[in-house]
């Protein structure tokens, strides 16, 4: 006769599968995550069916609900070059540290005069910086200068990157190294304001523009 035993359940559970899963997820999120630098403005864009992902190398003009204009250039090297050119044009001097800081910054929206003070602010308080945005009227069209200098700088850095890729034996597409022009307008902003920005681009003969949108369902190819 077998002895009847009361099965004692162990208070410790085998956690291995759970831990496996947890680490799998951690790894996934770590690799998939892309961190966005904090932006001084939050913009809610309209939606479209477009599935074209935002290009890496871009020059972006942001327009918020009040019609304030912000500017961003993605390439850090090109940022430095553009800033130096702008500094000599507007006779504003920046020290080395400020230039380095500027290269790693994201979107900014202030006049050239305010820029040194803006750069010196710690990241979190840049949101509270009181400014009217980048001027773009005909008397003081700083946006136009920013765009044209940034385009030149981005083309220069793009050219060196293209040469490097060529030397490595790759077959690079020259178009990938050219900056793309992007307008990120808040859905609630007035279109006439966006048109002003668009006109600045068009005056510089940059007619192929991209609007940032959030994606929505496409009735043409539902998949």
């Amino acid at each position: 006769m077998p002895k009847i035993k009361i099965p004692k359940s162990s208070p410790s559970i085998d956690m291995t599968p759970m831990v496996d899963l947890a680490f799998l997820l951690v790894t996934f999120f770590m690799l998939a995550a892309s961190f966005r630098p904090s932006e001084p403005v939050t913009v809610e864009t309209a939606s479209s069916i477009s599935d074209k992902v935002i290009p890496e190398n871009n020059i972006m003009v942001t327009l918020d609900t009040d019609g304030k204009v912000y500017f961003n250039l993605t390439n850090p090297e090109a940022r430095k070059e553009a800033l130096n050119n702008m500094a000599s044009l507007y006779k504003v001097s920046f020290n080395e540290e400020q230039i380095e800081k500027f290269a790693l910054m994201s979107t900014f929206g202030c006049t050239m005069k305010e820029l040194p003070a803006y750069i010196d602010l710690p990241g979190d308080s840049r949101k509270e910086f009181k400014t009217e945005g980048i001027p773009l009227d005909s008397l003081d069209n700083q946006l136009k200068n920013w765009i044209s200098y940034s385009q030149m700088a981005a083309l220069n850095t793009g050219k060196t990157a293209y040469e490097e890729a060529k030397q490595k034996g790759l077959a690079p597409d020259a178009d990938d190294f050219k900056p793309k022009f992007i307008i990120r307008a808040d859905g609630k902003s007035v279109y006439k304001k966006a048109e002003k920005v668009i006109d600045v681009f068009r005056e510089l003969n940059l007619n192929n523009l991209n609007f940032v949108t959030s994606s929505e369902f496409n009735p043409n190819n539902p998949n």
Binding site: T16, S48, V53, I54
Partner: protein, 212 residues
């Protein structure tokens, strides 16, 4: 620990002495804590969907005046945008003091829904859409390569029979309205989209329509 359960019966050599086995289990709780902490952090901070962009080519700015003898636009539609409102007319614009064959241009109101704007555009651009449908069928039946399809669709969009769209905005229209309209235009497979400034006569007509 309780995991080395005693087997219920024979086959157990009682005479042999066993070396004391130290448990192979490690307390994993701190590690799991950390793993979940990291997991929560990454889940909350990561942003997945990269924003999308919609390209739009604007007409180049030219100084020379527009050629008066240029071919007339006969299968165009002009949209007049105001805040959350949209009107359109087809063909050329005839102001009240210079009426065309069918009298002065009248604006028709529509909306941004699928039954409004999308239907209007689909009806007017049926030339392209019908041919596109035929091509899609061919692609599905493997009678046409999809590269050919893309190329031919582009050619189709540029044909004179395809609908052309002009977009004019007043100073109250929102960016959202504009982008929604361009989006619908792209859904209707229209190749030629031109955002152009509004004529004063059109603005007047739009304002009287808005007051109604």
């Amino acid at each position: 620990m309780a995991e080395i359960a005693e087997s219920g019966g024979g086959g157990h050599d009682k005479g042999k002495k066993r070396a004391k086995k130290s448990s192979t289990r490690v307390d994993m709780t701190p590690m799991v804590d950390l793993a979940f902490l990291l997991l929560t952090f990454f889940v909350l901070t990561s942003t997945f969907s990269k924003p999308k962009v919609m390209s739009l080519a604007y007409p180049a700015k030219i100084d020379e005046p527009i050629d008066k003898n240029a071919p007339k636009l006969n299968n165009g539609i002009t949209f007049l945008l105001s805040k959350d409102k949209i009107f359109y007319y087809t063909g050329e614009f005839y102001p009240a003091d210079r009426p065309g064959k069918d009298g002065p241009t009248k604006l028709t109101e529509t909306n941004f829904s699928a039954s409004g704007l999308r239907k209007v555009l689909a009806d007017l651009n049926s030339y392209v859409l019908l041919r596109k449908e035929g091509m899609v069928k061919k692609v599905k039946a493997k009678q046409m390569a999809d590269t050919t399809y893309t190329r031919e669709l582009e050619q189709l969009k540029g044909k004179p029979e395809a609908l052309k769209v002009l977009v004019k905005t007043d100073d109250k229209a929102l960016c959202k309205n504009f982008i929604d309209l361009i989006d619908e235009v792209k859904i209707a497979e229209i190749g030629v989209i031109a955002p152009v400034p509004m004529l004063p006569a059109e603005l007047k007509l739009l304002e009287t329509q808005l007051k109604k």
